[in-house]
């Protein structure tokens, strides 16, 4: 499903943004990428999406190399990021209408259901919504495309506690029901214990650990404590 082998990425002034990252994810797994600020999480996700050209190594997402512009495969991948802004003068309805045109698998009934779950109205300008509400609109648009893979970069940071839980519950449910593979990058691992199947910890571009949750926790009882423990080692 997702395979990354010996992935490295550098730019002229920063030689080791990512260094020898390796992991393999089976279909339908919930994968959490954790690390400090500037650890390289966003860069990793950018490479998975094909937004950056890797320096070395191999990457495969849905059996395609993101670097070769596999546009048909992108119809099955949903991308959520804090870097994606939305036009403030569009209405929620207009954004969803614009977005759905690109996806043949888009489910209108699911969109209506998701709007209800996230407490969003389809009218009202996006510019008048809060940062968390804007993310919710993006989540609705992303999930309504019925993706096989969801790649989310720091998306939970701006959601309130209820919104975050609702989002994660929804992902878990879709993971179970529809075999959705979730790749979630965050620097807030608290509360992810009941969702994560695999954890990748990065520090300054280097892979500290990649393991199934149980193995990653070792003697710790919580993911956040295990992350802290490994970072302090």
């Amino acid at each position: 499903m997702i395979e990354v082998t010996d992935l490295s990425y550098s730019v002229p002034n920063k030689p080791h943004i990512l260094d020898s990252i390796t992991f393999q994810l089976p279909s339908g797994s919930f994968f959490v990428v954790v690390g400090e600020n500037g650890a390289g999480k966003t860069t990793l996700l950018d490479i998975l999406m094909g937004f950056r050209r890797r320096t070395s190594g191999a990457v495969s997402v849905l059996d395609a190399d993101p670097q070769t512009d596999p546009w048909q495969a992108r119809a099955r991948i949903a991308y959520l990021s804090e870097k994606v802004d939305m036009p403030g003068d569009w209405e929620t309805r207009e954004y969803l209408e614009f977005h759905r045109r690109f996806y043949s698998s888009y489910d209108l009934a699911d969109e209506t259901n998701l709007l209800r779950v996230f407490g969003l109205a389809s009218t009202g300008r996006i510019g008048n919504l809060s940062a968390g509400e804007i993310r919710r609109v993006q989540i609705v648009a992303a999930l309504a495309t019925q993706p096989q893979v969801l790649i989310a970069d720091e998306i939970t940071a701006v959601l309130d506690i209820q919104g975050r839980k609702r989002f994660l519950d929804l992902l878990k449910e879709r993971q179970r029901m529809k075999r959705l593979t979730v790749v979630l990058a965050t620097n807030v691992p608290e509360g992810l214990d009941s969702y994560a199947d695999y954890v990748l910890l990065i520090r300054k571009g280097s892979q500290v650990a990649f393991a199934p949750l149980g193995e990653f926790l070792e003697d710790e009882t919580e993911l956040a404590r295990a992350v802290l423990h490994r970072l302090e080692e």
Binding site: M49, Q67, D69, W71, R74, I77, Y79, V84, D85, F98
Partner: protein, 246 residues
């Protein structure tokens, strides 16, 4: 898919098109009621309208290109790149979207030679210079828009402060070089209008003299054609810079 984007752009830029229409109407009325162009002068007031169109054409580029750093944009570049559209197709769509804003400039320039103070009776090489320079200049500004948008994004995200001066120069040099290359053509076309007495100046070693020396038929025709040729090589480079995968 192109229509889907263009329809959306039209809705988003309603005010913009309203301004274009307003300027055109205001010009038309001013021309009709105040006789802007005096019969004896080679100057045409249409050039003012042309400059207005030109500035309006370059304004929306950063909105369309969706740079994520410190620019206003409609949809972020990453949103566009994540869509299930081939990046080659997406890059073409982006060009169509930008060209739409050049329609007033291209439209006015295309008919300009046939209007009152145009040069419909000019020799064939003037025609060639004019249309090649026009095409080159439009493509140049569109490609520079793409180049500078991504360059700006790189500058603000990766580069340490010490490397920014070089990056600034890297951003400015291409436009300076290209403008110098198309300059002979525009000088040849515009000098008789703007500086009619310059042609008679004896000092060919003065600054204007040197400029005038470069406005003869060979450089004014060859340089823009050369620039057009270079731009054709610049487009794939920009495609790779904007889309990464291309």
């Amino acid at each position: 898919m192109i229509i889907h984007f263009l329809k959306r752009d039209f809705l988003d830029f309603r005010v913009y098109w309203f301004i274009v229409a307003g300027i055109t109407l205001a010009y038309g009325m001013a021309h009709h009621f105040t006789k802007l162009d005096s019969p004896g002068s080679p100057w045409s007031s249409l050039q003012v309208l042309l400059f207005a169109y030109f500035f309006l054409a370059i304004m929306p580029q950063s909105y369309v290109l969706g740079s994520v750093w410190r620019t206003q944009h409609q949809l972020s570049r990453h949103y566009l790149l994540a869509l299930p559209i081939s990046h080659r197709h997406l890059f073409t769509i982006q060009h169509y979207r930008m060209v739409v804003f050049w329609i007033p400039v291209l439209g006015l320039c295309s008919i300009y030679p046939f209007l009152g103070k145009g040069f419909s009776s000019a020799s064939w090489d003037t025609w060639m210079v004019y249309y090649i320079a026009l095409l080159t200049t439009c493509v140049l500004f569109i490609e520079y828009g793409i180049w500078s948008t991504v360059q700006w994004e790189e500058m603000t995200s990766y580069l340490p402060q010490s490397a920014r001066m070089r990056a600034w120069l890297k951003m400015l040099v291409p436009i300076a070089v290209f403008l110098l290359v198309v300059e002979p053509a525009w000088m040849r076309l515009l000098t008789p209008i703007w500086f009619p007495r310059l042609k008679q100046m004896p000092d060919t070693f003065s600054f204007f003299g040197v400029l005038m020396g470069a406005t003869g038929p060979p450089p004014s025709l060859v340089f823009p054609a050369l620039a057009l040729f270079l731009i054709v090589y610049w487009i794939p480079h920009n495609a790779r810079k904007w889309c990464v995968t291309l």
